[in-house]
């Protein structure tokens, strides 16, 4: 029986931890305590920490798009730790492994998954490549902030893509917030300028700015984004207070280059990992946090208004394994059927 099968069995018998079979969504709502002890339990089930074990672990992570480099690093550390501590007793092995597993998801500051509000108007700029979910996330975020009692305004900064302004407009109506817009084709920086003025004069708490999707290797478009960023800062010192990069969980290793380039151009403060309601895991965010120190702040779990949740690293990493676990389980059943 595989390690993950055992892991699954362990969970199956425990009501409090039955979310191993649930979606990450439900997992998010559960408490964050007990993850470490859970891993401890899991590893306890596994008697031998041999090459098979490492290989299995490695494959689960690779298939979650964590990326080779990060996975290998992690595996090396695990092997090293196991060797260094010269652990033969399984009870010691488990603690070593759980420590390391916990380390890969450690986000550092616990308050990182929240929006940093300024004293007066808080400006949030949403950036990212094409079709990742920027506009939808703005709708969801506006809804969330409004529920928290903030007054929110949106800026239709995507003047390029067909139907982009109308799309944000529909979100504005849904959520019940104003949308500042100009005609299609106008200068996005001018829209931002307008929006900041309106937001200030109407005294709203938060202005969320949409931008057109752009691939990070398009220099002209990245320059345009830099200009938008600059205009915001000129109108309000310290703005934008948050620059959120939307990353599609389905995206593979290219997400690292996206994060790197957008960070260079707009000083990204956080990531929104969208479309996590699918089967992709977006594991590259581990590498991104590791290398670029950009935290994930929110996750997108659907297309509806309330499908945005704060990121919980423990639950997320747990999801990476839980999914692998389900898969392994299925594979074993499949091969048993044959």
């Amino acid at each position: 029986m595989s390690f993950f099968k055992k892991l699954k069995d362990k969970f199956a018998g425990n009501a409090e931890q039955e979310q191993s079979t649930e979606k990450y969504k439900e997992g998010l709502e559960k408490t964050r305590t007990g993850f470490t002890s859970r891993i401890n339990d899991l590893v306890a089930k596994y008697r031998k920490v041999d090459e098979d074990f490492f290989e299995e672990l490695e494959e689960v992570l690779l298939q979650a798009d964590v990326g080779f480099e990060t996975v290998l690093e992690l595996m090396d550390e695990l092997r090293y730790e196991v060797q260094r501590k010269n652990v033969r007793d399984t009870s010691n092995v488990q603690s070593v492994i759980s420590e390391k597993l916990v380390e890969i998801y450690q986000a550092g500051e616990p308050e990182l998954n929240e929006i940093k509000f300024a004293d007066g108007l808080t400006v949030i700029l949403m950036v990212g490549v094409n079709g990742v979910g920027k506009t939808t996330t703005i709708g969801k975020l506006a809804h969330r902030l409004k529920n928290e009692g903030k007054s929110v305004m949106l800026a239709a900064g995507d003047t390029f893509r067909a139907g982009a302004i109308e799309q944000l407009d529909v979100w504005g109506q849904r959520v019940g917030v104003d949308v500042i817009k100009q005609a299609a084709g106008s200068d996005p920086a001018a829209v931002m300028y307008d929006a900041v003025r309106s937001a200030k004069s109407r005294g709203v708490d938060v202005l969320i700015c949409d931008t057109a999707g752009r691939l990070q290797n398009k220099v002209n478009l990245m320059n345009e984004l830099e200009k938008v960023h600059r205009v915001l800062g000129r109108e309000i010192p310290g703005a934008p207070h948050e620059v959120l990069l939307a990353l599609d969980a389905t995206t593979g290793q290219n997400a690292m280059i996206q994060a790197q380039t957008f960070k260079e151009v707009t000083e990204v403060t956080g990531i929104v990992l969208t479309k996590l309601d699918g089967t992709a895991k977006g594991g590259i965010v581990l590498a991104i946090r590791n290398k670029l120190k950009i935290p994930v702040k929110f996750v997108g779990l659907g297309e509806k208004m309330d499908d945005l949740q704060p990121f919980d690293p423990q639950k997320y990493v747990y999801g990476l394994f839980a999914e692998g676990l389900d898969k392994e389980d299925k594979l074993e059943e499949d091969s048993a059927d044959k």
């Binding site: 298939q63 080779f68 079709g131 067909a162 109308e166 220099v219 593979g252 089967t279």
Partner: protein, 452 residues
């Protein structure tokens, strides 16, 4: 943080092997590890990689890799051949129905590029196949999806069939097919809403649309940046509704695009088109060999050559060379050259297409600032004819005037003058070794520095 291509990866192994004289089985194994590594980094699905590496290993073991003096190159060749073969032939043929109208369905995950590709495809069918397309707005879920398609239709002056968002997509599609028949529009392209492959209710909707009139094509639209999950997505869509082909979008980005291999392997369906931009004419046919090179990080030489061929005038290139040799290259020639380079497309993309470009230090992240190009042009435009042909006469006063005239600074002018001189020198040297192919590459760092 650009990823190393397979060739670079294998170089490490090669250095170790060199001097040993013979390649051992262990060496081949190590090379295979590098192949595995490179493919996973390129987002090819792990299971697909395993299968692929097994096949390549067998071929490598059976062939003369081990006797070869250049085992690394042999391995690269085998890998590339296998990959190209797996990618299938060039198949951009579209199936048209004998019974009007031809129905094409666009399906895929959210945000993959269906709506944009619907427009692009319609434009292409009209232009190349003389078809009369009707676009169908069958996405009633995404906010403003209907307006998006309507705008696309307007941009192309191609009719769009829409019925708002209160009727079911199946009914909209049904009416659209009737409408097309009545209006003698021969090709119906249905833009469906993005959906998750695990969403049973919405997958059923696709089956229902499909049941209206057996589509001649069902295109799965996939984002080229997709990672490991591409296999699940492609397999699920194919199993549920039976796709006939794939469109890979956003290949104008810098992703390796390993998803292409994953999708081919699990579905065996041809990749017919690739999306190369947001504009509605940015749809190209799929070239298996180029895709293989791209996944392996070997530079897209063919595309580059093609681009150069279509945009650089041979005759002019010859004249230019002559000018370099005789040192009669002027700022006017320079302007002309700039214009030609610009025609080839965004410079940084061109630079990236050069094989080995990622080895030139700093170039992997080369961002060519094209507004800088505009500044260069402005400076040259502000020169007198005499100044353009004999820049030596440009003294402090003249510099001041040129800077003022072009809205730049004296430093900018100085910089351009210096670069122009350097370039002339370099070009002169290079035109001497023109016969030695490959040396031409050297011009790129020089050109590049002009626009930084």
């Amino acid at each position: 943080m650009a990823f190393e291509g397979l060739s670079e990866r294998l170089q490490g192994t090669m250095t170790k092997i060199k001097g040993k004289g013979k390649v051992s089985e262990a060496d081949v194994k190590e090379m295979m590890r590098e192949v595995r590594f490179a493919l996973i980094e390129a987002d090819v699905n792990l299971k697909v990689v395993k299968e692929f590496v097994k096949k390549v290993s067998e071929r490598a073991a059976g062939s003369d890799v081990m006797e070869s003096l250049t085992p690394g190159q042999q391995v690269v060749k085998i890998v590339k051949d296998e990959l190209t073969e797996l990618m299938g032939g060039e198949q951009s043929k579209i199936e048209f129905s004998t019974k009007q109208p031809t129905v094409i369905m666009m399906v895929g995950l959210q945000g993959a590029g269906k709506t944009t590709t619907t427009g692009k495809l319609a434009g292409l069918l009209r232009k190349k196949h003389n078809r009369k397309p009707l676009l169908v707005a069958a996405d009633v879920y995404r906010p403003a999806a209907v307006q998006q398609l309507e705008t696309v239709g307007k941009q192309l002056t191609i009719p769009v069939f829409s019925k708002g968002t209160d009727i079911s997509p199946v009914e909209i599609a049904r009416q659209a097919i009737e409408h097309a028949k009545a209006e003698h529009l021969d090709t119906v392209i249905i833009d469906t809403a993005g959906r998750l492959h695990i969403d049973d209710a919405l997958m059923q909707e696709l089956k229902d649309i499909r049941a209206l009139k057996e589509p001649d094509e069902i295109f799965l639209v996939v984002d080229a940046m997709t990672g490991q999950d591409a296999v699940n997505v492609a397999q699920s869509f194919d199993e549920a509704i039976g796709i006939t082909g794939v469109v890979l979008t956003k290949l104008d980005g810098d992703t390796r695009g390993g998803a292409a291999l994953s999708i081919r392997t699990v579905t065996q369906k041809p990749i017919k088109f690739i999306g190369m931009g947001e504009k509605l004419d940015a749809l190209d046919v799929f070239h298996p060999e180029r895709m293989a090179s791209r996944i392996l990080g070997m530079g897209d030489m063919l595309s580059l050559i093609e681009k150069a061929q279509t945009s650089v005038d041979e005759e002019k290139a010859k004249q230019l060379e002559e000018k370099f040799r005789t040192s009669s290259f002027t700022f006017d020639d320079f302007l002309e050259q700039l214009a030609q380079v610009k025609q080839m497309g965004p410079l940084d993309e061109i630079l990236k297409m050069l094989p080995g470009a990622n080895k030139i230090k700093g170039l992997e992240n080369a961002k060519v600032d094209e507004s800088q190009m505009g500044r260069v042009e402005a400076i040259i435009y502000s020169m007198t004819t005499q100044e353009k042909t004999t820049p030596e006469i440009i003294n402090a006063n003249r510099k001041k005037r040129i800077a003022r005239g072009s809205g730049t600074s004296i430093q900018d002018v100085n910089r351009l003058l210096k670069q122009f001189e350097d370039m002339k020198k370099m070009m002169k040297q290079m035109s001497g070794m023109n016969s030695k192919k490959g040396k031409k590459k050297m011009s790129m760092p020089g050109l590049d520095s002009l626009f930084k």
